[in-house]
């Protein structure tokens, strides 16, 4: 499989991934035969109601959870080796900053763990803080920053060791609409300028359509993919694009997919 040139270039190659949780109430099929191929530079959003397995899928790719069956390669390696090789940066819904570290030291944390030199740590912290527009906040502690700023720090932290893959689990879910719009624009710029592959979990249809090159619509019980929608808007897009008919058409298709997969009888 590794010798196949197409497969080798894939950032994520998941085939028939299933994951079954044993809970007190019996078995829960969190993922059922999920297959997905992601090429370098793509921005793929996972969207679906809660319980559809979109976060679980991201966690499986990150080797934070192991699938019950199926094959998965990340950057051409097993998920575990990809994690050990520090192939991806992970951004959680909460910033999860370390409260006893200043912003700069929070940024340096993964670099310290990975054994970067002192000089390199300083340069990278400076560079990535500037990238998320937080220059001047180096000496502040997390509680002195707003929620949106903290989430920007956590994005900078995930980028600091320059992984080719960025896994984002509803990173802006806890923020208000205005901040969210603003960060969406910033993230798009960041993606354009760095050329990273992004896997992005979200609840929000406009967010998914605005950001993605591909949208994966998922459905619960069992967690599965019900539609994959290509959505290639021009790279220079701004938030105004959300008013255009093309945008609304894609959004409508996502909505239809969600509705089809959603059972309202509960």
């Amino acid at each position: 499989m590794v010798t196949d040139p197409v497969t080798e270039r894939l950032v994520v190659d998941a085939r028939d991934i299933s994951l079954i949780f044993e809970t007190a109430d019996g078995k829960v099929e969190a993922l059922s035969n999920v297959s997905l191929q992601v090429s370098p530079g793509e921005f793929v959003s996972f969207i679906g109601p809660s319980g559809c397995g979109k976060t679980t899928m991201l966690r499986v790719i990150a080797d934070l959870q192991q699938p019950t069956s199926g094959t998965l390669s990340v950057n051409g390696m097993s998920a575990e080796n990809a994690r050990l090789a520090r192939s991806y940066g992970y951004v959680f819904q909460a910033p999860a900053l370390f409260p006893w570290r200043t912003i700069e030291k929070n940024l340096k944390l993964p670099l310290e763990v990975m054994g970067y030199s002192e000089t390199e740590q300083r340069q990278r912290a400076e560079h990535y803080l500037a990238l998320v527009n937080l220059k001047g906040f180096e000496r502040k502690f997390p509680w002195q920053l707003s929620g949106g700023m903290q989430q920007r720090v956590s994005i900078a932290r995930a980028l600091s060791f320059d992984p080719a893959l960025l896994l984002m689990d509803e990173p802006f879910g806890a923020l208000d609409e205005i901040v969210r719009d603003h960060l969406n624009e910033q993230l798009l710029q960041l993606w354009k300028s760095t050329g990273k592959t992004v896997l992005f979990v979200t609840h929000s249809i406009p967010e998914a359509v605005f950001l993605s090159t591909r949208i994966v619509v998922m459905s619960p019980r069992p967690g599965r993919i019900i539609d994959v929608i290509d959505c290639d808007f021009p790279t220079g897009r701004s938030l105004e694009i959300r008013e255009t008919p093309e945008f609304l058409k894609v959004a409508q298709r996502v909505r239809n997919g969600l509705r089809a997969g959603h059972s309202y009888d509960e």
């Binding site: 940066g89 992970y90 959680f92 909460a94 999860a96 570290r101 990975m114």
Partner: protein, 312 residues
Amino acid sequence: MTSSAETSSSFARPHRAPASRARDLLVERYAPLVTMVLAIVAIWYIAAVAMNWTLVRDAYEREETPYTISDVLAGTMDAERPLLPAPHQLAAAVYDSVFGYPPLAPRSLVYHALVTLSATLLGFLIGSLFGIALALMIVHSRVLERSLLPWIICSQMVPVLALAPIFIVMLGALGLHGLLPKSIISAYLCFFPVTIGMVKGFTSPDPLQIELMRTWSATPRQVLWKLRWPAAVPYLFASLKVAISISLVGAIVAELPTGAEAGIGARLLAGSYYGQTIQIWSALVVAAVLASGLIAVTALVEGGVLRRMGAH
């Protein structure tokens, strides 16, 4: 008194000069404390009169000397071996035994306090390190948690007063005398809150923070030093404040059954042998001052460390 000071100052504050505003703040801050102290002293005097009354009156009657009520009243204030010494008697005795002799004279309470303090500090050090080590083992192994925790809890159910003489005799047979056996009893008492607090502290990091470390494939040692340890620091200081005062209790208790010649415990024991209530009370006052001092120092270090760690 307090409430009137508060109302008048808050009412007039905007118009006052800075100096008088500072004075008002002082009043607001210390008035409750001073009131409390005055109330305690007053109650203490009344209690001293009540408790020493029979003692003094009986003494007059034994000697068959005529006496008046004011004679008895005066007697309750300066009895040689009162049931409860009057505050001024105690203050004078404490002052005398602290400043009346050179600090290292056997009659100086400073000397005895230093003897007990050295055992307390050594015991505190041993106990805290032991407590942290136990917590580390418990956090890292579920087997150890299940096998160690019941023993740790049991260890604290045995009254230390019963245990101390056995320890001292056993350690004495091993050739250990003086400071170390006392410190070990101190340590025996004070490791417990440290273990309990640090288990809680080491497990306090957010699951997200632990998963982040995992995504960076951090080693267990890095997880300990960069996450678990700093997260546990607030818990550490909370436990240390309890531990330092129990250490002092442990050191004093260890001095009781051994017939130690020096230390606050030895003074308490000697005082009770000879019915020297004033001496007992003086030793207690010094012990209380020592405990407050130790806790204050710990709190001061805590404040400094937590401020550096971004506490607000």
